[in-house]
Homo-oligomer: 236 residues x 2
DNA sequence: TACTCAAGCTTGTATATACAACTATTGACA
DNA sequence: TGTCAATAGTTGTATATACAAGCTTGAGTA
C-alpha cells in the first residue's frame, strides 16, 4: 500500500478534480457516502474518510441528515481569513465600493516573476482593486496572476471578469503564506488612499498554492486598519 | 449521543489534560491505540480516532511502527509560525540575544485587561524581550500574562523564569489570532530599536487561548523585517 | 389549501475484524 | 563480541455491520 495509492486518496483526488474543473459548482451536492462507496467499489467508511478529510481541508461542508456539499467561499473561514475580511467589508451594508479593473497583462519585477514561477513576464495578468469604507479609501489590492495556471475559461474571458469574481472562482486554497511588512507607500498610491506620504502602511504579500493557479497579491492598507489573521480553529 | 459526550472526545480530553498538566512531557510516549482502547473500554478504532484528531491538531506526533508521542515545540509548525520564527532567529548561529527581564506585575490598559480577561490589573505579569540580529535590535516583544491562568509552578517561580522559557512551557496552543497594524512607535521604543521616530513599524497583537493561560503579546519590528505567517498546511 | 407526521435518506458514532507496513527489540548465530 | 534475522508491537488501511441523530420529502389529514 506504499506503492499504490490508498483508496480514499483516489476518491479525494476525484472529488478535488470535479471541484477544480468546475463540474461541481459551489453549494453543489456531493454524492453521498453510500453512492461514492458503490461508485468506487469500496466500503462506506472508506468513502466517508475521503469526504471527511476534504471537509477538514475546507473543500466540502457536511450536514448530518442533509448531505455533503461543495464549500462556499464563505465556508472556508479557517484558512482564508483575509478573503473573509474583504468579504465582510463587502457585505457590511454595501459601504464598500471597488473600482474594478479588468485583468490585463503587465511586466513584473523579478521577485514577483519568481514567486509566480514564470520566466516570461508578459504572461502575468495584473489587476487593482481599491476598497472603500464610509466613502474612505482604505485598501489597495494589487493582484498578479500567472496566466498559464489560470483555468481556461478564465483565460478566455479574463477581460470581462472582475478581480472579485476571479477570486470567487479560484480553486479552493489549502495553503497560503502572508508576508507582512510596514512600509511607506509610493506617492501615487498614497494619493489613491488619500493619505500623507509619511503615513505608515501595511504591505501584505500573499502567496497561495493550488492545483489551478498561483496568485500573488499585495495589499496596502491605510493606518488604523488592522489586519486580522486567525489560525486554524480547532475545538475539542 | 447529543447530550452525552462522544467516547472519543472523553479520550481526547484526557490526553489534553495529561499534556497540559505536564504529566506527559514533550516527546513522551503516549499509550498505544490498544492500550487506550483497553483503558477506556472502547474499540481500537475509537481510541485511534482520538489520537488521530489530536495529531491533526498538532498536539501529538505519530510514527508507524514506533508509536504516538507528545509533540515538540518544533513539531507544531503549522499553527505557531511566529514562535517558530522567533526560534529560528534564536537558533541561527546564536546571533540573537535577548535582554531577558523577569516577569513582573504591572498595571495595564483597559484593552489589554479585556483581552486577558482580568478585572484587577495588578494580576497581570509583564515582560519585555529585545531581539538582536547581527548586533542590531530588530524586535521588541511585550508580553502580558494573566497570572491566574498561568500554571502554578510558573507562578511560584516566575521571577526566575525567562520569557522564552515561559513560552516553551506554555500549553500547546490550538488557536491564535494576530492583529497586525502599521504604526509609528513611541519614542522610547524607537530608541531601544535604534530607529528614527518616523520609521514605520509593525505592531502585532497576538492573542491565544489555551486551557492553561491566556497570553497576549505585542511585537514591534523594525522596518525591513518581514512578518511571515503560514496557514495550515494540508496535503492530499 | 395548509398542516402534521412518518418514512426514507444522510451523516455521526461505535464496534469487531483482518491484514499491511513499519519499528524496535530480542535472541541466535558467526 | 558483533551481526543479522525473527518477532512482537505499533500505526495505517479497509471492510462489514449496527444503531443514533438529523434533514427532506411526500402522503395523508384537517
Amino acid at each position: 500500500m506504499s506503492q499504490t495509492k490508498a483508496k480514499f486518496t483516489v476518491i479525494k483526488e476525484h472529488i478535488c478534480q470535479m471541484i477544480e474543473t468546475g463540474q461541481w459548482q459551489q453549494n453543489a451536492k456531493v454524492p453521498s457516502e453510500n453512492e461514492l462507496a458503490e461508485q468506487f467499489t469500496v466500503s462506506r467508511m472508506t468513502a466517508r474518510r475521503a469526504l471527511q478529510e476534504l471537509t477538514e481541508q475546507g473543500l466540502l461542508v457536511r450536514s448530518q441528515g442533509a448531505g455533503t456539499f461543495v464549500a462556499t467561499f464563505k465556508s472556508q473561514s479557517s484558512l482564508l481569513e483575509i478573503r473573509n475580511i474583504a468579504d465582510e467589508i463587502h457585505e457590511r451594508g454595501h459601504q464598500h465600493q471597488a473600482e474594478q479593473l479588468t485583468l490585463k497583462p503587465v511586466p513584473v519585477t523579478d521577485e514577483i516573476a519568481i514567486l509566480l514561477g514564470v520566466e516570461n513576464s508578459d504572461s502575468v495578468f495584473y489587476s487593482e482593486v481599491l476598497h472603500f469604507e464610509n466613502n474612505e479609501p482604505i485598501q489597495l489590492e494589487q493582484r498578479f496572476v500567472n496566466s498559464q495556471l489560470v483555468p481556461n475559461y478564465l483565460q478566455q474571458n479574463f477581460a470581462q471578469i472582475t478581480p472579485h469574481e476571479y477570486l470567487s472562482n479560484e480553486a479552493p486554497l489549502t495553503e497560503a503564506t502572508h508576508e507582512i511588512e510596514a512600509v511607506l507607500a509610493k506617492h501615487h498610491i498614497c494619493q489613491l488612499l488619500a493619505i500623507d506620504d509619511s503615513t505608515p502602511c501595511l504591505q501584505v504579500k500573499r502567496r497561495t498554492w493550488s492545483s489551478q493557479g498561483v496568485v500573488s497579491l499585495a495589499i496596502l492598507t491605510a493606518p488604523g486598519n488592522k489586519y486580522r489573521l486567525g489560525s486554524h480553529l480547532v475545538l475539542n
